[in-house]
């Protein structure tokens, strides 16, 4: 189940007054409101997406793009946890010199830990923006980060 869906299950009675709290929770989990969130929330509350977007853009608190160019979301659901996602987390934190929930100064990276992203078969899973990296290890994650830094001319 995606992060968005898991938020939605917490607001089962699809009442429209839940719109703001739902958006707030999604943002606090993901750091921003991806397009998918707007569409799924619309469907959940039986509201047109144009309305959900109208409400969301009315409040300054919502962001619609990740606050960093590379938004790392490391799964820490049960399966991933069992497969030592914790070790990967420490490695990333070391490499980027930030803690989970923070962004690098140059706004290149943001790191977040999320509950199960629904790909347990391939755990541990890292998601960078919209791309999944299954079976991530502390070694492969370093390579990934270095490749990005190289591409961005930061190495």
């Amino acid at each position: 189940m995606s992060q968005i869906e898991s938020v939605l299950t917490r607001f089962k009675d699809n009442q429209r007054q839940h719109l703001l709290p739902i958006l707030q929770e999604i943002q606090s989990e993901m750091g921003y409101l991806p397009e998918e969130a707007i569409t799924l929330v619309g469907r959940h509350l039986n509201l047109p997406t144009s309305k959900v977007y109208a409400v969301a853009t009315f409040y300054d608190q919502f962001r619609f793009s990740p606050s960093a160019k590379y938004h790392f979301m490391l799964c820490n659901g049960t399966a991933c946890h069992m497969k030592e996602s914790e070790v990967v987390l420490q490695e990333i934190e070391k490499c980027l010199n930030i803690k989970a929930g923070q962004s690098t100064r140059d706004k290149l990276f943001r790191l977040e830990v999320t509950p199960c992203v629904g790909a347990c078969g391939q755990s541990p899973v890292l998601k960078i923006n919209d791309v999944f990296y299954p079976g991530i290890t502390s070694k492969s994650v370093v390579e990934l980060i270095e490749a990005i830094k190289l591409k961005e001319g930061k190495l």
Partner: protein, 573 residues
């Protein structure tokens, strides 16, 4: 309860429950409005309608404020005028000054207001914001730079159509009105009905231009330019030339079109008769097999797109028969081209429609063979009027002429399809004949002519129980569709037209229309039906002749060409 109020030092009668604005209007006093719309609850957003009410410190928006017995009102005091001026000046400060090039020049509420308030100079600094035009849709162009945020399109789309493509995005200075994520219209859920254009006070929303393509084709000596006229264009076009509403221009329009250089003028209503006959055959088949009932009409391309987006599981319930525009389109590029020995690619096929969604329909891939579209360009009633003016023609100074065979003759059933209930009524007439072999004595189906937006008829034809419904205004159809999804099964045929009032009020019709002009158009259509003798599609002699040309396998493949298909669409709902 009626009481007295004082307006501009005169005593006037007012009715409890009315707004100040309504009271003033009933008394013949004009106050400008922008965000206000008749038959919608007022929002009080633009404040151009303010008036001074004694003992109120602030100016009061008359559109949303109820009138009260003690009120002393000034509608045009210096203070009021100053406020209205400032509002318009603020709107103009971020508005591109290109009236001369604007599609709504001389027909723009903002322009009129600036003129009436005597605004002759810029006092406020110019605030330019980069807002890009969105030409992505086949039907509607959105030009947010000209939007004054009145919200009329937002509300018509939500409350009358029920789609909610547009909403306000952001707030403060940066607010815009646009589709979800401010994406292009072509990836939105917009069904192209064009009702937003009908309510937009400025040039922020308008139809996608087809005039240039048509003028080019008319100048191209290689091209054989053929035009089909929709039955509802000839009853509304007159209004663009300040002739009284509802005047049927029929032969005058045919003559004018010939003067403009169109090689052949055909009637879409001929194809409407064919559609009605195909719908009836298909309905009989479905009744026999008890399959895919109720059957929905599919000649409104806005309704079709709605079904593709919102109810893909009901697509088998749409009739497979093409719309009149596309039947005529395919007749022209195939049947007619072959008979005249003209290559399809050398024919330029134009259609004159009351509708912006027809532009989208013409671009659908189902109606293109080997890169050649059946219909090359669709002009709305408004565009047609512009084209006629461009040619410097006076539509009243020509002698009427007849349309061209073989697609010149129609029944009056083919004519009334443009008004709500018309398709259903036409279908009923032919269905009756096919089920009983007998002629109707009285062709008029009063149940389909009520002024309700949903009309129903339950009857027995021979041994067959029949339920027919007609709905106009897509929002009203949604209720019926959910009933059907919940198992309602007493209906067999349902006509749905997306526009409130159907095609006579289509999104391509003259902007300045009123309720009266809509009534006049409808009356004209029914009067024609009353007067003429061929009242049912199956009696159209030209259609009978055309069908008679084909037999056996050839006939099957001819009929096959009248069919189309639909596809689910994944868009932002």
């Amino acid at each position: 309860m009626i009481f007295n109020i004082n307006v501009n030092n005169k005593i006037l009668k007012a009715r409890k429950g009315d707004t100040i604005l309504e009271t003033l209007r009933k008394n013949g006093i004009t106050v400008p409005t922008l965000c206000n719309m008749e038959n919608f609850t007022p929002t009080g957003a633009c404040r151009i309608c303010v008036v001074e009410v004694e003992s109120h410190d602030e100016l009061v928006p008359s559109c949303s404020h109820p009138v009260e017995e003690w009120m002393k009102i000034k509608t045009h005091s210096p203070r009021v005028i100053r406020a209205r001026r400032t509002i318009v000046e603020l709107l103009l400060s971020s508005h591109p000054d290109d009236c001369l090039y604007c599609i709504r020049n001389k027909n723009c509420e903002l322009q009129t207001l600036a003129e009436e308030l005597g605004i002759r100079e810029r006092r406020l600094p110019v605030v330019r914001m980069m807002k890009k035009k969105d030409p992505s849709s086949a039907s509607i162009v959105r030009d947010p730079a000209k939007c004054i945020l009145c919200g009329r399109c937002v509300r018509v789309c939500k409350e009358k159509i029920g789609i909610s493509t547009f909403d306000f995005i952001g707030k403060g200075m940066k607010t815009i009105v646009g589709p979800t994520f401010n994406k292009n219209l072509n990836v939105s859920n917009c069904i192209n009905c064009g009702q937003c254009i009908m309510v937009c006070p400025t040039g922020a929303l308008h139809e996608k231009d087809a005039i240039s393509a048509v003028s080019e084709a008319l100048q191209d000596t290689e091209k054989h330019v053929v035009v089909q006229v929709s039955p509802t264009v000839s009853v509304s076009l007159a209004e663009e030339f300040n002739v009284k509403s509802g005047k049927e221009l029929d032969g005058l329009l045919v003559a004018t079109l010939r003067k403009m250089g169109f090689n052949k003028v055909f009637k879409s209503a001929f194809a409407a008769d064919m559609m009605v006959m195909q719908i009836v055959e298909e309905l009989l088949e479905r009744l026999e097999n008890q399959q895919n009932l109720p059957m929905f009409s599919a000649d409104c391309p806005a309704f079709v797109k709605y079904m593709e987006e919102f109810h893909p599981e009901l697509l088998p319930n749409l009739t497979t028969c093409k719309s009149p525009q596309q039947i005529m389109g395919s007749l022209v590029k195939h049947h007619y081209a072959r008979n005249q020995k003209i290559k399809a690619e050398n024919i330029f096929s134009v259609s004159l429609m009351p509708c912006t969604a027809k532009k989208f329909e013409a671009r659908r891939e189902e109606f293109t063979t080997k890169g050649i579209s059946d219909v090359d360009a669709v002009l709305t009633t408004r565009e047609l009027a512009r084209l006629i003016r461009l040619f410097g023609l006076d539509i009243q100074q020509v002698a009427p002429e007849l349309a061209d065979s073989p697609f010149a003759v129609r029944s009056s059933a083919g004519k009334i399809v443009g008004t709500s209930g018309g398709v259903a009524e036409a279908v009923y007439r032919t269905l009756y004949y096919r089920l009983t072999g007998k002629q109707l004595v009285n062709f008029k189906v009063t149940q389909m002519r009520s002024n309700k937006s949903t009309r129903e008829l339950f009857t027995k034809i021979g041994k067959q129980k029949i339920g027919i419904a007609a709905v106009n205004g897509l929002q009203n159809a949604m209720e019926l569709i959910s009933q059907i999804k919940a198992g309602r099964d007493d209906l067999h045929f349902i006509e749905v037209m997306a526009c409130p009032g159907s095609c006579i009020n289509g999104g391509g019709q003259p902007i300045t229309q009123s309720q009266e002009s809509l009534k006049a158009r409808m009356k004209t259509l029914y009067d024609i039906d009353e007067k003429e003798s061929i009242k049912a599609s199956y009696k159209n002699p030209a259609v009978i002749e055309l069908y008679g040309k084909y037999t056996g396998k050839e006939k099957d493949s001819f009929l096959e060409k009248l069919k189309t298909s639909y596809q689910g669409r994944d868009v932002l709902l």
